[in-house]
């Protein structure tokens, strides 16, 4: 409470805890009203509708009615559990790969890029401005059968290994889990790099010097100083990668086959082609619940609750 009465110390002007306002207790509510109303109407309310749809029965012709038909959930899970499992597996693998690939680049930009820093940052962000669908289609060319990538993998006999692992099939990379994970990793990599970079950039360079001074070898410095300090970036990066990847159906559709369908593909198909709304709503609801649980547990575990 002392901060309220006393101005902050001169060298660290922190914003005051309690901005003084003499009138207009309602002002914040007026400011919030339009935006919050929008979110309530078009984000929260749809969730309610979706929940209600998931327990309806009926048909497109005769109309639907809420019958508290929870069996839809059971049917959805028992029929589509492989797709759910695949979503978690693919998205998890892609997230891990993003972290593995993204960390060196984020580190490079933050500490080693010198005057190239801004240019590399632009190059990381710029692909955002080309439609991601076009870029994903480019992977069809890159991974094409008989193309240079497949040729190289083949000559190194790596495809035999991946086929044995079940992530490629025969001489193909396209239409296999490997292609889908590759596409997912590619598409969400910037979402990993940017938060990582932001948290790495905040680290005081003198901490590295201090660590070296205190007998830490480069790798020990990384393990004991740099990495722990970049944890906020790691946490938000993994979330920003995993969440959209788990609901994605574009990569599985463009780069995969019917054997790589993820839960997003099922929801999309049920909603837009089969028109089985209750099943689609139930699947979507399960996905949402699963994501919320995973995110909550993950944030609890990593102890950074102030992501927003």
């Amino acid at each position: 409470m002392t901060t309220v009465t006393e101005a902050p110390p001169p060298l660290a002007p922190t914003p005051q805890k309690k901005p003084p306002r003499r009138r207009g207790r309602l002002t914040p509510y007026w400011l919030l009203l339009p935006g919050i109303l929008w979110l309530l109407l078009f984000f929260a309310l749809p969730m309610v509708y979706q929940a209600s749809t998931s327990v309806q029965t009926g048909s497109l012709e005769e109309g639907y009615e809420v019958t508290w038909h929870f069996a839809t959930y059971w049917d959805a899970v028992s029929e589509y559990w492989p797709q759910f499992l695949r979503s978690v597996l693919y998205a998890g693998t892609a997230t891990a790969l993003c972290l593995l690939l993204g960390y060196p680049l984020a580190y490079l930009i933050a500490f080693r890029a010198g005057r190239w820093r801004n240019l590399i940052l632009i190059l990381v962000i710029a692909p955002f401005f080309t439609s991601f669908l076009i870029r994903t289609l480019a992977w069809k060319t890159i991974l094409a059968d008989g193309g240079p990538v497949v040729g190289a993998l083949n000559s190194l006999h790596l495809l035999d290994v991946t086929s044995w692992l079940g992530i490629t099939a025969g001489d193909r990379v396209l239409a296999t889990p490997l292609a889908v994970v590759c596409g997912l990793t590619y598409n969400f990599l910037p979402f990993m790099i940017l938060p990582l970079y932001t948290s790495l950039e905040r680290i005081d360079g003198r901490l590295h010097e201090a660590a070296h001074d205190l007998y830490a070898k480069p790798f020990t410095t990384f393990r004991k100083v740099t990495f722990p300090l970049s944890m906020p970036g790691v946490v938000s990066g993994t979330l920003l990668t995993f969440i959209p990847a788990s609901g994605d159906y574009v990569n599985a559709d463009l780069l995969g086959s019917t054997d790589t369908r993820m839960v997003g593909n099922v929801i999309q198909g049920q909603f837009l082609r089969v028109l089985d709304y209750p099943t689609a709503a139930a699947l979507s609801f399960i996905l949402m619940a699963a994501i919320l649980i995973i995110v909550t547990l993950y944030i609890r575990k990593s102890g950074t609750e102030d992501l927003v």
């Binding site: 979110l39 078009f42 309310l45 749809p46 690939l101 993204g102 955002f128 401005f129 994501i291």
Partner: protein, 266 residues
């Protein structure tokens, strides 16, 4: 021996550059294939060099129409999300009120939700209300999912702003409105601009939510999606390449200008 040591020292740099290559490879492919003259309907295999697509970018039916529709939607969605989001950001940073926690969660949740879930639930709402799917439903959806990102961007800027500046303005005879126009808004402008830019990029490139709520309307990403099933015209690559170049140029010129300004000051 020295090679091993050099490798050890620059391992991070090498790994980082490889990742950068991975990120940029598709853009290179898109650019190269914008000069392709494919045999069949699909532009996945290199045939021969041609500038036909570059000289006639709108030569495919509906392509430029979808592009202009996407630009329009992005512009309106940016405007809507930026105004609404900025108001929320100010309320969150500058005022204490009761429902704060709930509001924060409501802002956070859309960002923590797979797009397909939002898309599907919004569609159930529209179906239940009997809404006509099209331009307006797309716009509503885009404003909705861009809003949170704008709030986050503006909030960061407003939070770093010294509230004393506004007090100083009020102390110097500026009423509430003048304080906002003369001091608050100009200082918050970079955050608002960043939020708007993000909203534009997100809206323009959105496919999943649009795909659910567009009905028969075709935005540019939906055109690309459709062509992936029916046949990919080279013009898609032309537009993708042009977008990339324009984006890089805008960012670069922005950097040059701000860099020059800094040098002038020094």
């Amino acid at each position: 021996m020295t090679l091993v040591r050099w490798l050890k020292r620059h391992l991070v740099v090498l790994a980082g550059l490889l990742t950068l290559g991975y990120l940029l490879l598709p853009n290179v492919v898109v650019t190269v294939f914008s000069f392709n003259n494919p045999k069949g309907r699909f532009n996945y295999e290199w045939q021969q060099f041609s500038t036909d697509a570059w000289t006639d970018p709108c030569g495919v039916a509906d392509l430029c129409g979808s592009l202009s529709l996407s630009l329009q939607i992005a512009a309106w969605a940016t405007l809507g999300a930026t105004v609404l989001g900025t108001l929320i950001a100010f309320a969150l940073v500058r005022y204490r009120f009761r429902a704060r926690g709930a509001v924060n969660s409501l802002i956070f949740l859309p960002m923590a939700m797979p797009e397909v879930v939002m898309a599907a639930s919004l569609l159930t709402l529209f179906l239940n209300m009997g809404a006509q799917l099209g331009f307006w439903t797309i716009l509503i959806a885009h404003i909705m999912f861009c809003l949170s990102f704008v709030v986050t961007a503006v909030k960061a800027r407003v939070m770093s702003m010294d509230p004393k500046l506004e007090e100083a303005a009020r102390d110097l005879y500026a009423g509430p409105i003048q304080t906002f126009v003369r001091v608050t808004l100009p200082i918050a402008a970079p955050g608002i601009a960043a939020g708007a830019l993000l909203a534009f990029a997100l809206s323009f490139d959105d496919f999943i939510i649009t795909n659910f709520n567009a009905g028969a309307t075709v935005t540019f990403p939906m055109f690309v999606w459709g062509s992936a099933q029916r046949g990919t015209p080279v013009q898609i690559n032309v537009i993708g390449t042009a977008m990339f170049i324009v984006a890089v140029l805008i960012v670069l010129s922005g950097m040059v200008i701000s860099g020059r300004r800094k040098r002038q000051r020094a």
